[in-house]
């Protein structure tokens, strides 16, 4: 048989860098651990448990995620809110919906979305500040956002004793962001000619 020389290639997978004999490979260990978690797990946590350098964990996770995507699997590994987690693939949403008990997330109102964006970019921020930016009282919306777990209290302002608010890691999850640095820049939403406005009286 012509392919006898090529033993080991039948699975089509690359061998991981250094599996100990008798121990599961790193990729398998990561898959197994991520299967039992119900919240994102940080690379550094995985590195500690598996006693491997964080960069190796990071690259292996990215490899796995890429492999799942290339193979068109129904699940995906994603880094969201500071950690990795199994997700279903977006294409399968219609089918998965029928099995998920929690059902669809209630949509946020325009008022809630506006308040959420002010908190996201100005955190930690007081309700009064949010009201000043939106031009309208936002206390009720802030309560809703807090109840929904998208926003939480973050201490008080030293001078005014006003309660400050910030976004939660659930907020990052709902937006599919790794961290707050991934928020889109606000600048492009401001007109190019902000400076010109000052020129207008002429």
């Amino acid at each position: 048989m012509p392919d006898l020389d090529e033993t080991g290639d039948e699975t089509g997978f690359d061998e991981p860098s250094g599996p100990e004999p008798g121990e599961p490979q790193l990729r398998a260990a990561l898959e197994a651990i991520l299967l039992v978690v119900d919240e994102p797990v940080a690379e550094v946590t995985l590195a500690q448990v598996l006693e491997r350098p964080t960069h190796e964990i990071a690259s292996t996770l990215r490899e796995l995620a890429g492999e799942y995507t290339a193979a068109g699997r129904g699940f995906d590994l994603r880094e969201v809110a500071g950690g990795w987690r199994f997700y279903t693939r977006a294409e399968c949403a219609a089918l998965v919906e029928r099995f998920v008990r929690d059902g669809q997330q209630a949509r946020l109102t325009q008022a809630a979305l506006e308040t959420l964006s002010v908190v996201a970019y100005r955190q930690p921020v007081s309700r009064a500040k949010v009201a000043a930016i939106r031009g309208v009282n936002s206390d009720g919306v802030m309560r809703t956002l807090t109840a929904r777990g998208l926003v939480e209290e973050a201490g008080t302002e030293p001078e005014s004793q006003a309660v400050l608010y910030r976004t939660t890691s659930y907020f990052l999850e709902r937006l599919g962001l790794r961290d707050l640095d991934e928020l889109p820049a606000l600048a492009p939403f401001l007109p190019d000619d902000v400076e010109n406005l000052e020129e207008q009286p002429k």
Partner: protein, 281 residues
């Protein structure tokens, strides 16, 4: 006529400005007023005190802008002009800032919708591992549990109208009325421009304008405007002496300021509905 629901006065103002592709400086107060009245009418029985008070804020904002617009453009001659220009620039900045957040809120909404297509794995741990979980640190005693329960069971705090975003009335309408009465009795007729030439700031111009309206209500003055956006002439038609009673409706608000529970807010009405949805899910 399609009318959307606005998220507060800034939103309404932005909406009207963009609809007419107008520069903020060109917004015509009567046009916006007409549209607002149409808006209120279109909602029929839903007519809402909250919407109306929002409009008052828009109107005050516009009045401010108009006052700034009446300034001779080009050079800034004295501190009053400067104050008005600053007030206007501040309003521009606030409107632009608000618009940026409004835009980014759309991005948030889109991302959330897209993200909702991906379901995280949220499955209880396999039985073989569940009993290995480290002993739970409850971290609370019975008293704290009761406290948490009280907080959860507490009726949602009543909606209040925050007025912190409104202008601090530094000028008393009653005092401004007294100044006007004295001047108009002396001059008989004057332009609003000249009547406000000595105002210390926008707030005083606004107070003086409100005082003129109050005097009109008391039938002490009449108005004449020869052309649209032209000078407003104020003519004294009241008694030549004696006290003119001017209501202190405006000045009272300063004292009420810190008392909560004065009304309801539109935001809260929406929230109630939203919470309901979540409960049914």
């Amino acid at each position: 006529m399609h009318l959307e629901v606005f998220q507060g006065p800034f939103d309404l103002l932005l909406g009207l400005i963009s609809k007419h592709k107008l520069d903020i400086t060109e917004v015509s107060l009567h046009q916006v007023t007409d549209e607002f009245i149409a808006y209120i009418r279109s909602r029929g029985p839903e007519w809402d005190l909250d919407q109306t008070s929002h409009f008052l804020l828009v109107a005050a904002t516009l009045l401010d802008l108009k006052a700034a617009r009446l300034l001779p453009t080009g050079e800034v001659e004295d501190e009053e002009d400067l104050a008005l220009l600053e007030a206007r620039d501040l309003l521009f900045a606030r409107l632009l800032q608000y618009r940026a957040y409004k835009e980014v809120a759309k991005v948030f909404s889109g991302r959330m919708a897209e993200e909702a297509l991906r379901y995280p794995r949220l499955v209880p741990m396999e039985a073989a591992f569940a009993n290995l979980l480290p002993e739970l640190i409850l971290g609370i005693g019975p008293e704290q549990l009761a406290r948490i329960a009280m907080k959860v069971f507490a009726p949602k705090a009543p909606p209040t109208v925050s007025v912190t975003h409104m202008y601090q009335p530094l000028a008393s309408v009653r005092e401004q009325a007294a100044i006007l009465v004295e001047r108009l009795r002396r001059a008989g007729r004057a332009t609003f421009r000249s009547l406000t030439s000595d105002c210390a700031g926008t707030y005083e111009v606004v107070a003086r304008f409100l005082a003129v309206l109050e005097l009109f209500r008391e039938a002490a003055v009449s108005f004449e405007q020869l052309e649209p956006l032209g000078d407003l002439y104020v003519t004294w038609t009241g008694a030549t002496d004696g006290d003119i009673a001017v209501g202190d409706d405006y000045d009272e608000t300063a004292e009420r300021r810190n008392r909560p529970g004065a009304g309801t807010s539109g935001d809260d009405a929406e929230d109630g509905a939203e919470d309901g949805d979540a409960g049914d899910a």
